[in-house]
C-alpha cells in the first residue's frame, strides 16, 4: 500500500512538473562559444523576465532534423538558429512558421524594426541575429612572417604545414577563387561558369594533400591548438574565443572573408509557438543583440545595436567593436555569401565537391 502511495505521489509530481514546464522552450544553436554567448545574452535574461525555462540544444546546421520533426508531426524544437540559405529553403518548403516583422520591437530611438535590421536579416519566416564570417586563422608560433592574404593560405611553400578546411563546398570554393587572385565582387559571376568552377577546384587541388577536413565548428580551433594544422579555415567567433578566452597564440586574417547571417526560425507546428515568438522578439531587440556581442565577436544585425557594443565580458581592455567582421578594415576584401547562388547551385557544386574529395 505504502508503495502504491509513493508511486502515485511520484507520478503526480511528474505530471505536475510537466504542467509547469509547459512554457519551457527548446532553443537549438551551434554549440560551443557561440551557444554560450546566446545563453548569457538571451536565455538567462529571458528566463528571469518571463519565468519560462529555456532548454539549450546543439546541432551542426542544416534542415534535416527540422524537416524530420515537421514531417513526423513530433516537433520538439521551438527556436532554431539557422543560416540564411536554410531559412529561405525551409520557408519555401513550408516547414517553418511565418514571423511578422511588425511585431518586433522598434529601436530605442523609435526606428521601426524593418528599417533597423540590415538587408536580408528579416525574412518571411526568420529574424536575423548576427553576422558571422568564415575566415582563416594561423598558429603564430609556426611562422616568422605572418600570412596576410587569402593567397597565403594556399601557398604551402612559403607557409608550410597542414591546412584545416570545412568539408563542404560552400565558402571553400569562393575562398579558392579569391586565393587565386579573383576580386571578391567577381567571385559569384565566375563560379556560375564551368571555367570558374574548374579554376576553383584546380586551386583546391594545389593543397589537397595538405588538408585536414573538419565538419563541426568546434574542431578547427582544436586542430590548431593540437598542432595538427598550422592554418585553418574557421568561424571568426570560435577563433576569437580561443584567443581571448583561452589565450592561444593564434592570429587571424580578414582578407577574403566570406560573411553570412544567422537567423532564428520556428519549425512549423512548434508546441510553444507563442513563447518561441516572445523569445525571438526579446532576443533580437537592440540591447540583447549588443549584449551578445560582448561574449563573442559576431556582429549584431541591428544598426541601433552597434553603438551599444561594449567590451569583452572578462577583459574590459578588449573593445569588441574592433573585432567585428563588419569593421572597415575587415571588409576591405570581403564577400557576402550569396544565398540564392547556393540555393540554386549548392546541390550540384556539393556533389562535385564530394566527388573531387573522394577521387
Amino acid at each position: 500500500m505504502k508503495f502504491f502511495k509513493l508511486l502515485f505521489a511520484s507520478a503526480s509530481t511528474l505530471l505536475f512538473a510537466s504542467v509547469v514546464n509547459a512554457d519551457s522552450i527548446t532553443v537549438v544553436s551551434w554549440g560551443g562559444a557561440y551557444t554560450k554567448s546566446q545563453v548569457e545574452a538571451y536565455h538567462k535574461p529571458w528566463q528571469n523576465k518571463t519565468g519560462n525555462q529555456v532548454v539549450s540544444e546543439d546541432y551542426s546546421g542544416g534542415l534535416a532534423e527540422v524537416k524530420a520533426q515537421v514531417e513526423s508531426g513530433n516537433v520538439t524544437w521551438d527556436v532554431v538558429d539557422v543560416e540564411l540559405s536554410d531559412a529561405l529553403q525551409g520557408c519555401d518548403e513550408g516547414i517553418l512558421e511565418t514571423i511578422d516583422p511588425s511585431t518586433l520591437p522598434a529601436a530605442p530611438d523609435g526606428t521601426p524594426a524593418a528599417k533597423d535590421f540590415m538587408d536580408g536579416a528579416l525574412q518571411e519566416c526568420a529574424v536575423g541575429n548576427i553576422v558571422w564570417s568564415t575566415i582563416y586563422a594561423y598558429d603564430k608560433t609556426k611562422f616568422s612572417t605572418p600570412p596576410t592574404t587569402m593567397a597565403d593560405f594556399f601557398n604551402v611553400e612559403k607557409f608550410p604545414g597542414k591546412r584545416g578546411m570545412r568539408k563542404l563546398g560552400k565558402a571553400m570554393l569562393e575562398m579558392a577563387l579569391m586565393g587565386d587572385g579573383v576580386p571578391a565582387e567577381e567571385v559569384y559571376d565566375l563560379l556560375g561558369t564551368e571555367a570558374g568552377v574548374q579554376r576553383a577546384f584546380a586551386k583546391l587541388d594545389t593543397i589537397k594533400d595538405h588538408v585536414v577536413w573538419w565538419e563541426a565548428g568546434a574542431q578547427p580551433p582544436q586542430l590548431l591548438a593540437d598542432g595538427e594544422v598550422t592554418m585553418t579555415i574557421v568561424w571568426n567567433g570560435r577563433i576569437f574565443n580561443a584567443i581571448a578566452a583561452e589565450g592561444q597564440p593564434f592570429g587571424l586574417v580578414w582578407d577574403g572573408q566570406v560573411y553570412d547571417l544567422d537567423l532564428f526560425v520556428i519549425p512549423k507546428g512548434s508546441k510553444n509557438k507563442e513563447a518561441a515568438l516572445d523569445f525571438i522578439r526579446f532576443s533580437t531587440d537592440t540591447q540583447r543583440l549588443a549584449d551578445q556581442a560582448s561574449w563573442i565577436n559576431y556582429g549584431p544585425v541591428r544598426a541601433s545595436s552597434i553603438p551599444l557594443i561594449g567590451s569583452y565580458h572578462s577583459d574590459p581592455s578588449i573593445k569588441m567593436i574592433d573585432h567585428m567582421p563588419t569593421t572597415e578594415a575587415a571588409l576591405k576584401n570581403a564577400l557576402q555569401n550569396d544565398f540564392e547562388f547556393w540555393a540554386d547551385n549548392g546541390e550540384e557544386l556539393n556533389e562535385r565537391f564530394n566527388a573531387w574529395l573522394a577521387n
Binding site: G62, L63, A64, E65, K67, Q89, C91, D92, E93, G94, K162, L168, K208, V211, V212, W213, D226, G227, E228, E340, A343, D344, N345, E347, E348, N350, E351, R352, N354, A355, W356, L357, A358, N359
Partner: protein, 420 residues
C-alpha cells in the same frame, strides 16, 4: 454413421475415444499456438518497427511523386509530350496555372527543390517565376519566357518531363553514377561527377581488409583463450571483452588520440627516430585510420565466435594425431584448423556485415579517402536532404549484401557456421 464407426475401429483410440492422431495434432497445435503467441510481440515489433519502415523508405528510392502531386495540370500533358518537339502553348498555360496555385498554397519550394536536383538552377527559376505567375497574360509562352529566358530552353522541359514521372529509375541511376534522361535512356555521368560506384567498391574493399586483418589478429588470440589454463584465459577474455563493452565513440576517439600527427604513436616514432618531428606519419583522417580503428573495434566479433568453437574441440584429437606421427604443423593444419572453420565463417560474416555498414568511425577518422558509402547515405539524409537518393543508395547496398550472402552460402554454405 456405420462407415465412420468402422473407420474409428481401425484407428488407435485414446481413453476418451478420440483417435490418437487427432488428439496428438490437437495437442501439438495448441503448443504451436502458444509458441506463436509468445513470439508474436517480437514479430509485431520487428514488422512494425523494422521491416515496414525499411520497405516504405526503400520505395522512396524509386518513387517520388512531388512533381505529379503538385503540378496537376502540367503532368498529364508532359507525359504525352515526346521530349523533342517545341513545347506548345498548352504546356505553358498549364505550367502558369500550376505555378499560381503552388504560390498560393505555399508548396512552390517542394517542387522547386525537387526540380533543382534534376537541373541545377531550377530552384530560383521556379520560385521567382511563381512570384510573378499571377500577373502573366496569354500568350503564356511569350510572357513566361520574358520573366525567365530559361523557360524557352528544351533542357528545362526535358528535366520537367523526367521529374514528372513518379515511378522512375532516376535515383537508382544516380546512385550508380548514371543519369536517366527524358528519352528513357540511361547514360553515364561525366567523370568529375562520378563517385558512388567508387565508394561502393571502396566500402567492399575496406570491409574485406578488416575481415582479413581481424582473422590474422584474432585467430591466435582465440587459440590462446581456448588453450591457456583457465585462470590466465579468463583474464585474457576480460581484456577482449573490456573494449567490447566500451562505447564505440570512446574507442574511436581514443584512436584519434593515439594516431594523430601529435599523437602517442607518432611521439614514440619521433623518440625512437623512426620519424622526424617535422615529418610525422599520417595515420589518421585517411584510409589507414579507418582500417586500423575498424579492425580494432570489430576484433571481438571475430575472436568470440572462433573462441567458442575452439572451446568445443577436444584436445585429444590433436594428441591422437601427434601420437600417430604428425608434426605440430600437420596436426594443426589437418586436424585442428578444419574444425575451427565454422567459427571462422561465423566471425568473418559477422565482421563483414557489420563493417560494410559502418559509419560513425569512418565519419570521424576517414578524412577524404577513408569514408564509406554509409557516410554518403548519411550525407544525403542529413545535409542535402535528398532522401530519395539516400533510399536508392541504401537499396543498392542491401542488394549487394544479399548477393554476397548468397555467394557465401553457395561457396561456404551458411549451415557451416557456428557461434559456439
Amino acid at each position: 454413421m456405420l462407415a465412420s464407426q468402422n473407420n474409428n475401429n481401425q484407428k488407435v483410440l485414446t481413453t476418451d475415444g478420440i483417435p490418437l492422431k487427432k488428439k496428438l495434432s490437437k495437442a501439438l497445435f495448441r503448443s504451436r499456438l502458444r509458441a506463436f503467441g509468445l513470439v508474436t510481440p517480437l514479430l509485431l515489433l520487428i514488422s512494425i518497427g523494422f521491416v515496414f519502415p525499411i520497405i516504405v523508405f526503400l520505395t522512396r528510392g524509386v518513387y517520388n511523386d512531388t512533381f505529379e502531386k503538385y503540378m496537376v495540370n502540367l503532368t498529364p500533358i508532359l507525359s504525352e509530350w515526346d521530349g523533342k518537339s517545341e513545347p506548345t502553348e498548352d504546356m505553358y498555360e498549364a505550367l502558369v496555372l500550376d505555378l499560381v496555385w503552388l504560390k498560393e498554397t505555399k508548396n512552390i519550394g517542394k517542387v522547386a527543390s525537387r526540380m533543382n536536383r534534376e537541373l541545377s538552377g531550377s530552384r530560383s527559376l521556379f520560385t521567382s517565376s511563381a512570384r510573378k505567375a499571377k500577373k502573366l497574360e496569354a500568350p503564356f509562352k511569350e510572357s513566361l519566357t520574358k520573366v525567365k529566358k530559361k523557360w524557352a530552353k528544351l533542357e528545362t522541359w526535358r528535366a520537367m518531363k523526367v521529374t514528372s514521372q513518379s515511378l522512375s529509375p532516376v535515383f537508382l541511376a544516380s546512385a550508380l553514377d548514371m543519369k536517366y534522361t527524358a528519352d528513357g535512356t540511361i547514360v553515364q555521368k561525366s567523370p568529375e561527377r562520378r563517385i558512388h560506384v567508387k565508394l561502393f567498391i571502396r566500402t567492399l574493399e575496406i570491409s574485406l581488409v578488416v575481415v582479413i586483418a581481424g582473422l590474422i589478429l584474432g585467430y591466435p588470440v582465440a587459440f590462446l583463450l581456448a588453450n591457456l589454463p583457465i585462470r590466465i584465459s579468463n583474464l585474457l577474455l576480460i581484456l577482449v571483452l573490456l573494449p567490447f563493452w566500451t562505447s564505440l565513440l570512446v574507442r574511436t576517439t581514443a584512436w584519434i588520440a593515439m594516431l594523430q600527427g601529435q599523437g602517442v604513436l607518432n611521439d614514440l616514432f619521433v623518440v625512437f627516430g623512426i620519424a622526424t618531428d617535422q615529418d610525422r606519419f599520417t595515420l589518421i583522417y585517411n584510409k589507414a585510420g579507418t582500417l586500423i580503428s575498424m579492425t580494432h573495434i570489430l576484433l571481438p566479433f571475430m575472436i568470440l565466435p572462433i573462441y567458442s568453437v575452439m572451446k568445443t574441440i577436444p584436445p585429444s584429437y590433436v594428441r591422437a594425431a601427434k601420437s600417430m606421427g604428425a608434426t605440430n604443423w600437420t596436426a594443426f593444419w589437418r586436424i585442428y584448423f578444419p574444425q575451427t572453420i565454422p567459427g571462422i565463417g561465423a566471425g568473418a560474416i559477422l565482421v563483414f556485415i557489420l563493417a560494410i555498414s559502418f559509419y560513425i568511425t569512418p565519419a570521424l577518422v576517414g578524412g577524404q579517402d577513408g569514408t564509406m558509402i554509409s557516410n554518403f547515405i548519411d550525407y544525403h539524409m542529413r545535409k542535402s536532404l535528398n532522401w530519395s537518393l539516400a533510399a536508392a543508395m541504401g537499396g543498392v547496398l542491401l542488394v549487394i549484401i544479399l548477393f554476397l550472402y548468397w555467394v557465401y552460402d553457395r561457396v561456404v554454405g551458411i549451415d557451416n557456421m557456428k557461434l559456439g
